[in-house]
Amino acid sequence: MTGYLLRRIGGVLVVMLLVTAVAYLVFFLLPSDPARLSCGKPCTPDRLAQVRALLGYNHSVPVQYLDYLRGIVLGRSYGSGAASLHCPAPCFGYSFPQGRPVTALIADRFPVTLSIAVGAALLWLVTGVLAGLVCALYRDSWLDRLVTVGALGGVSAPTFLVGLVGILVFGFRFNMLPVNGYVAFTDDPAQWAFHLILPWCTLAFVFAAIYARLTRTQVLEVLSEDYIAMARAKGLSRRRVFVHHALRAGLTPVLTLFALDLGGLLGGAVITEKVFGMQGLGALLIDAVASSDLPVVVGCTVFAGLLIVLANLAVDLLYGYLDPRVTS
């Protein structure tokens, strides 16, 4: 198991290095010049050169990349003397227009994305899996057909449409829920949850549909296995067979998908955050793209990549625990 773990962690480091390299290419492939964004208006060639020198864009590409990597490990300073700008380790970049290190921006925004992602994830896991189980147990009944059709709707509907319709109906028409904004958990837990109901339901509607269909398929497949028939033949009760044998085998793939989906969502639920006016990582990334704030784009991409890689690691370890054949 230890060998397996070490190999996996080694893989994580290699992938992260590749992710930072590819993300960093953004600086050189896009037409926008981040120095120009911070040059002022009107921008003279002298001022532009001054800003490029401050941000380190006047060095060669490999040197810039190495400075970036060193910043992640050791931290970085821009400029010199009394007014240098500090970016403490881990420094994923410095957003000049916002005047803050990208790490600080991410740390600020992460609780918002965490709130949205974890809440929605629990909601869709519970509802999706339950719906799928019910469908598998009562296969081809009217309930099964109803849920399947509903799931089709959930899978097809785009998130922004569901979100905006939710706001229109529950926010404006019936005045039941707030239409936008985020309240921190530390400020007011009740308001925090109240403001998150619509975003949670919006995300869960889409994901639960996927999980319902997946759970139904997986459980049905397991129920048709020989060893299940054997267990029933041996006299085990229907419930014991279902809960003790079929469920564990059927749900393992669902749980691994869950870990991957949650990892991806933690990097930013872009559409949901924008529609509901919540300042999470997704909104940070989209705003940075719109305003060509490239250090933030690169920083967010690297961070989201890190989360997905860690989620994959978690899944690999989970499988290593669940299925001993994998680690040998």
Partner: protein, 555 residues
């Protein structure tokens, strides 16, 4: 350079309700409409951040930052007239000498920051000096090239001062410029001219809570979320000619979806009655807004705004032939463009000049008079005179958002009628500006918009038509170069007498239009909604955004 919206509404109704405001060019106190003191004003904004550091700000004098900071001068706005420059911290708009190269200001007596400490001339000097530091660059930089030594000055953080800003005593400040500038009083209204006391500041975070010289100070700022402003007890109303400072608190909420903002203001429920929008009304919501009189009367529309225009690349054959360019002036169906932009009340009036209404010195004239739908016959006759009777084939560079695309298509179909075949080249905003401003222009026509940074015709003409502004990402996208025009531009910017300067700019406007390097299309309008409890909310002809300095709540 901002575009958008097109909405037209009961501007007359709005104008009538604030008609008391516009006549007071010389009045001592701010004009009052129905606003009463007190209450909390909410501003709903789609911007993800707000920047209150004066060195890094590119904001207009009527923006939120100027509720917290005061500069040497400011703008007196009205709902219908062009703005005038009026003194803010200074006693007048500047005393000029030395052939326009020396400007002297005296600060009003008894000015204080929010903590009670006095505002002195050295603070204005320091505020300007720190704007030169690379760490704080990104703001409006008009003062940087005009001050002697500004081009090489790197800021005060290594101990060096800028000697062309002199403060002989606590209330006097003298600027030495390297050439005469008639616009200096306007430039002195920019955020960089706000006083910053010289002390060890955390420059990375100064913008979180700058020293307040205006009627409000920062109570709390959660960047990306909310900014709360509370009153500055040491702001002296008697010294301030424009700000009404009626609300007790102002809450600025950031990062909201523009559609949701406008839906909230249409619904006008609860606290939203005290709110105003800084997001234009999206095209999809216009029928809902205009169709309901109770909502339409809460819409503030700017009578004018940015110039929408077609830049003609004069270096690319056959466009280097004046007759061909003049044919384009007649061929373009401006009415179709106006319809694509949403109609006259929504999109804006048809344009025929380079200086826009709302800028002092604007005069209405049309060098190429034609029907609103264009004069196809005249265009064809000019084309055949130029030897292109069989027509032309041109590329049109445009941004790929839906409004720009519809306007570009309107231009395209109009020109087709005159035998000019247009191929559209839509690009996303970054690529578009990179291509439009490139030193070698690979396009024939480009669809652009332009709004000056301050209300002087310099902003309409110099960045778009001076030969020094070709290429390198600058905005003379027509690649227009005319030494006689350059000379006239230099003369007009140096002229310190406003009436003379405006006459010169008018001359430049006509001289350039005679060469037809651009086809003016529309004076684009903006429109903003307010809640029903908000008063004195209007968008002037320039700048076409709500004047935040005078908004209040009705009693």
């Amino acid at each position: 350079m901002r575009r958008t919206v097109l909405v037209g509404a009961v501007a007359a109704l709005i104008a009538a309700s604030v008609s008391g405001c516009h006549a007071n060019n010389k009045s001592a106190g701010p004009a009052q409409a129905k606003a009463k003191a007190g209450g909390e004003l909410d501003v709903l904004s789609p911007s993800p951040t707000i920047n209150l550091d004066p060195a890094k700000s590119q904001n207009l004098a009527t923006s939120t930052i100027h509720l917290v900071l005061r500069s040497l001068t400011t703008w007196q706005e009205s709902a219908t007239e062009a703005p005038t420059v009026v003194p803010d911290l200074a006693t007048d708009t500047g005393r000029v000498s030395n052939g326009g190269k020396t400007w002297t200001y005296t600060l009003k007596p008894g000015l204080k920051y929010a903590d009670g400490s006095p505002i002195v001339a050295a603070d204005i000097k320091y505020g300007l000096e720190r704007s030169f530091a690379a760490q704080l660059s990104g703001g409006l930089a008009y003062h940087k090239s005009l001050l002697v030594g500004g081009d090489s000055y790197q800021g005060p953080f290594d101990g060096k001062q800028l000697d062309s800003i002199q403060t002989p005593d606590d209330r006097t400040i003298v600027f030495q410029l390297n050439k005469s500038s008639g616009d200096w009083p306007w430039i002195a209204s920019m955020p960089a001219f706000a006083p910053v006391p010289k002390k060890d500041e955390n420059i990375q975070h100064y913008g979180d809570n700058p020293m307040a010289s205006g009627p409000y100070q920062v109570s709390s700022l959660k960047q990306g979320s909310t900014l709360v402003l509370k009153r500055n007890p040491h702001w002296d109303r008697g010294t301030d000619p424009v700000r009404t400072a009626q609300p007790d608190t102002i809450v600025y909420t950031m990062g909201l979806d523009p559609t949701v903002i406008n839906q909230r203001l249409i619904a006008d429920q609860g606290k939203d009655r005290n709110a105003v929008s800084s997001a234009d009304v999206p095209a999809a919501l216009l029928p809902k807004v205009l169709g309901d009189p109770s909502v339409a009367q809460r819409l503030a529309t700017s009578p004018s705004g940015a110039l929408s225009y077609l830049a003609i690349n004069v270096t690319r054959p056959p466009l280097n032939n004046l007759l061909v360019r003049q044919a384009l002036e007649y061929a373009v169906n401006k009415k179709a463009v106006q319809v694509a932009a949403g109609g006259a009340k929504i999109g804006g009036e048809l344009a025929s000049t380079l200086i826009t209404p709302g800028i002092p010195g604007y005069q209405s004239y049309d060098r190429y008079p034609a029907d609103p739908t264009g004069d196809v016959a005249k265009a064809k006759s000019l084309l055949s005179q130029a030897g292109h009777a069989s027509g032309l084939s041109l590329t049109l560079l445009t941004q790929n958002d839906s409004i720009s695309l519809s306007e570009a298509q309107a231009v395209q179909s109009g020109l087709t009628a005159a035998g000019i075949n247009v191929r559209l080249k839509p690009e996303d905003s970054d690529s578009f500006y990179a291509d439009a401003g490139a030193s070698k222009g690979n396009f024939d026509l480009a669809l652009l918009g332009w709004l000056p940074d301050y209300p002087s015709a310099t902003g309409n003409i110099e960045p778009l038509f001076d030969s020094s502004q070709i290429g390198n990402g600058n905005f003379n996208c027509s690649h227009y170069s005319n030494p006689a025009v350059d000379k006239l531009i230099a003369q007009a910017s140096a002229e310190t007498d406003q009436a003379t300067a405006q006459a010169l700019w008018g001359q430049a406007d006509r001289m350039i239009m005679a060469d037809a390097p651009v086809v003016p299309l529309l004076y684009a309008r903006n429109a903003f909604l307010r809640g029903s409890a908000v008063a004195n909310f209007f968008a002037p002809p320039y700048p076409p955004y709500a004047d935040m300095l005078v908004v209040g709540l009705a009693g």
